[in-house]
Every structure is written in structure tokens, then in C-alpha cells.
Amino acid sequence: MKKTILITGFALVLMSLSMLIAGTTITIKGSDTLVRLGQRWAEEYMKVNDGVVIQVSGGGSGTGIAALLNNATDICEASRDMKEKEYKKAKELGIAPYRVSVALDGIAIFLNEKNKVTNLTFAQLKGIYTGSITNWKEVGGNDVQIILYGRENNSGTYAFFKEHVLNEEDYSEYTQTLPGTAAVVNAVSKDVNGIGYGGIAWAKGVKYASVAKEDGGKYIEPSVETVSNGSYPISRDLYWFFNGKPTGELRKLVNWTLSETGQKIAAEIDYVPLSKERADANIVK
């Protein structure tokens, strides 16, 4: 017993000492959508780079941006661009946000597997989520009420969906908000008349709706290919923000994530990798 404690204590001291000597600790904070990817990248990067310690935590895009503005993190992960208000605040605080798109993400529309509906247009989605379409029969389904599920209003996904699909109109007051995409997927999988939205990396036990941007346009199913070639209409960039153009170890890290190895890791855990040209264009010189 005593021996184990001693050994553990010794190991702890050694670890903290090695951290002191190596000196490079990078903190990454922000989007819950990106946190899994950030963690995988950190693990792989630390394997090949001795002496670099990377700490990754989530909390949401807003939390990450707030941390960047308060100089409390080296890298902020965000599933949306910073708002004008936030850029203004950054200027006041003397922070110069530098944005790099590190991967892509599609927002999928989740439907219960028993739902007859498989195709939806942007106009129908907008109608459904703003409350002007309330019955599935209006979009080709059974004669039952549509049950709306969504994210809490602090999530990047909420903001992105509102901006791109609802054109900044308000969500219907009947939208039930749940904490996290996993909860939305779970709710839709249990609710035959439910509809939800969230990242495509998450869907288990529900089906995706195919989405067309224009009425009469082609319905596209969300997948890694359709998001990365840009044909799926509800997709977004996932960003890393830095305070000023990254240099040294930070630059090495971000360029590594944009390398073939980095993007392959993203694809392995169901994120959508950037195309080769886009990744190369984003490399920090």
C-alpha cells in the first residue's frame, strides 16, 4: 500500500517536472461539436511530439470565444464564426482573432425511422421550425402533429440552423430544447412524430432526411462526401481561433491538423475532412 502511494507520488512529481522542463502546454477550449475531434488530434499529436501537452475541453462555442477574449485559452474551437459583437469586444480587449477552418460539419435533419417522410426542402424545414407547418401531412407524411426538438439557445448548432435555414426568424415556441445533440437524437429515436437537427457524426437510431435547397431541386442525403464536395446544403466550417497569427508550436499544430494525417483522423471519427486544395489553402505560412 505504502509502496504504491510512493510510486504514484514519484510518478506525479516526475510528470510535473517533465512538464516544467518541456514547458509547452497548449489549451484548447470551445465547441461541443468539435471537442471529440480536438481530443483525438491532441492525443495523436502528443504521441509524435514529445514535450507538448495539450489540454482540450468543451463548453460550447460561446464559452470558447469568451475564453479567447479573456486570454484564457490558446486555441478556441468554434462551430460558427464570431459574431460582430464578439469581434468588436475583441478589439476593445486588444485581441486579434485569427481564424482557420480545420474541418467541415453537416447539420443533418433527424427523423424517426418509422416516419414516411424522407425528403424536405429548405422552405418546408423553415415552415416546420417556425411553426407555420404543424402537421406531417403537409409535407407528405401521416396526419399527425409534428413534434419539434432542438438545441438550447446557447449552442452553435442552434445559431447556425437559425441563420441558414430559418433566415434568422424565431423558432416555434413549441420547439422542445434539449441539452446536447445526443439528447436530440435519443428523443427523435423514441418519438415517431419527432424531428430534430444536429451534427451528422452523431446520428444513431434515427434516419437522415434528404434536403433540397430550392423547391424542385435535387434532394441530397447528408454524408461525408456530399458535405465535403459542397452539394449538401446545410453544412458549415469548423474553426480554430487564435489570438493573432499562430507562431511556433501553435503554428506547427494547426498545420499538422490540416495535413493529410490530421484530416484522415477527422474522417476516421465521422467528421468531414477538408478537400486537399482547401486544406492546403488554409495552412498558416
Partner: protein
């Protein structure tokens, strides 16, 4: 001489001990006061800052607002909108709906269990039931919430054929589980502390056990039972995790208990983590916090006052 020295020493010890305990009590009091001040201070910009008052003044929280020209005025909670909407009415209705269901569910069960335990159960049974119900109070609310989200909601939807899986009924029943131990414990205390002279008198007049408890004990303990319900109500409106998980969190104004509801406490829990520090939304959430603080404070104070009065009366001081 020696004896005197000893005495002096013990007096000193007593003095230190007494002050130490007094300081401990003061720290608790101070903590409450400081929390009170902090929450109110953060809510204050609603009244003092003209920019925030413009966006989220008291009138905007209480009265119907016209948000877009040419549309009907309405109550809405949509703080992250191009036109932020901060009506508190949907949240107030949601909070009250969930609390009412909780009380309707917990009161008969809690009071019934208390009557059984204090009047009908044998000593062994009572010593078995009491701790078990009190353990219910120790279940973390997140566990109750998870149970309601995954299991209770499905059962209710299947048996009642509900449109909304997550609704006030579902959240209220889960809340009720958290309220039962409060109602049970306080009601049981109230009934067991009814003087045995009353019980003996009723029995001497020929009442059987049922008649004694219904016509004598229950009326005598009624203020205590009322206080237990009031305190249970306080718990129900302050409880956060259960409603956050089980209610669906849609801010709807309706009379139906089968619609989804969004409560004050769940709103704070869901939104406070990412609001702009010092902005209108931030202040409004703290204002809601202040309201909850005042509500629960008054409710608990009222319940407590009733209880102390009863105790004094039973002991013959009034």
C-alpha cells in the same frame, strides 16, 4: 488554589468554544446575505442601465409586446433572437404548472404515508418505512431526471396516448418524487407530536383507531401538514435538474398540463453558461434568479413560522 485555576481554565475554554460556534453560525448567515447581494447586484442593470432597460425593462418582461410591426402583440421567451424577447409569463406559467402537478402527486402519497406510519403501522414497520422514504430525498435529482426522461416519459406517452413525450405531467411526477420525503417527514412529525392526551380522550369516548386518526389527530396536525406542503412547493419551484431533463423546455403559454413547459430554474441552468457577461440577457437571468430566491425565501419562512407556532402551541406556550 488549584481548584480555582482549573475553573478559570474551563471558563476560558467555554468562552472560546461559544464564540467559535457563534462565528460558524454567522458565517452561514453571512454567506446567505452575500449571495443575496450578489444576485441582486447582477440583476440591477435592468433598472439602472438605460441600454438594458430599453431591451429588457420590467414592462417588457410583464406585458404583451409587439415585436414586429404589423404582427399581433404576444408573450415570448426568445432571448437569442434578432429582436430579443424576454417575457417572463411563459416561464412563470411553466414553473407553476410543474409545481402544481408535483404537489398533486406528492401530497396524497406523502400525507397518506405519514398517517399510516404514525397511526397504523407497528413499531417495526415504521422503523422500516421511515428511513426508506427518507432515502428518496437523498437520490440525486439528476438521477430522477434521467429516470423521467428515459422511462417515465415513455410509459406516460404509451398509456395516455400523449402528443408530447416530455411535458408538465412527466416533469411534475418526477418532481413529486423529490417532494414526497419533505411532505412525509414534516407531516409525520406533526402527527406524532400531537399530545397523547387528545388520543386518549378520543379513545375513551369510544372512537376506534380510524376515527381517532381522522377526527382527532389529523385536524390537530393540519397546520403542520399545510406547512409541509408549502415547503414541498418551495422545493418544487426551486428544483432544476429534474425539470431541465424531463419537461421539454418549450416556453409555451397554455392551460394544458400535457404541453411541454420551461421553468425559471431550468432556464437559468440552460442559458447562463454562455450569455454575454453583463449584457441584457445576463441581467434578466439574474433577475429570474432573484425572483426564485425571494419566492423560496418567503415560502420557507412562512412554512417555518407555521411550524414553530405549532410546536409552541403543542408545548402549551401559547
Amino acid at each position: 488554589m488549584k481548584r480555582l485555576k482549573f475553573k478559570r481554565k474551563s471558563r476560558l475554554r467555554e468562552f472560546i468554544g461559544e464564540k467559535f460556534i457563534a462565528i460558524n453560525a454567522l458565517v452561514a448567515l453571512l454567506a446567505i446575505i452575500l449571495i443575496f447581494i450578489f444576485i441582486f447586484k447582477e440583476a440591477l442593470p435592468i433598472f439602472t442601465n438605460p441600454e438594458i432597460r430599453q431591451e429588457a425593462g420590467l414592462d417588457k418582461m410583464i406585458f404583451k409586446q409587439v415585436y414586429y410591426e404589423g404582427r399581433d402583440p404576444k408573450y415570448a421567451w426568445q432571448p437569442n433572437s434578432d429582436v430579443p424577447k424576454y417575457s417572463l409569463l411563459p416561464l412563470l406559467i411553466g414553473t407553476i404548472k410543474a409545481a402544481i402537478i408535483a404537489l398533486l402527486f406528492a401530497t396524497p402519497l406523502g400525507v397518506g404515508a405519514a398517517i399510516f406510519s404514525s397511526e397504523f403501522a407497528g413499531k417495526r414497520t415504521r422503523e422500516f418505512i421511515k428511513p426508506i422514504i427518507e432515502i428518496l430525498a437523498g437520490i440525486p435529482s439528476v438521477v430522477l431526471g434521467f429516470f423521467a426522461l428515459m422511462i417515465l416519459a415513455t410509459i406516460l406517452q404509451k398509456t395516455l396516448g400523449l402528443t408530447f413525450r416530455l411535458n408538465a405531467l412527466n416533469a411534475g411526477i418526477a418532481l413529486g418524487l423529490a417532494v414526497i420525503p419533505i411532505i412525509f417527514t414534516i407531516s409525520e412529525d406533526a402527527m406524532t407530536s400531537v399530545p397523547s392526551s387528545l388520543r386518549d380522550a378520543a379513545t375513551a369516548l369510544g372512537a376506534n383507531r380510524w376515527e381517532v386518526s381522522m377526527t382527532t389527530i389529523l385536524p390537530a396536525a393540519l397546520p403542520g401538514i399545510a406547512a409541509s406542503i408549502v415547503l414541498g412547493f418551495g422545493r418544487a419551484i426551486g428544483e432544476t435538474m429534474i425539470v431541465l431533463m424531463a419537461s421539454g423546455n418549450a416556453a409555451i403559454i397554455s392551460a394544458s398540463f400535457l404541453d411541454s413547459v420551461r421553468t425559471f430554474s431550468a432556464t437559468i441552468a440552460a442559458e447562463l453558461a454562455e450569455v454575454v457577461f453583463g449584457g441584457a440577457h445576463y441581467s434578466v437571468l439574474f433577475f429570474i434568479g432573484s425572483l426564485l430566491f425571494v419566492f423560496t425565501f418567503l415560502i420557507n419562512l412562512g412554512g417555518d413560522m407555521v411550524l414553530t407556532r405549532i410546536k409552541a402551541r403543542i408545548q402549551g406556550k401559547i
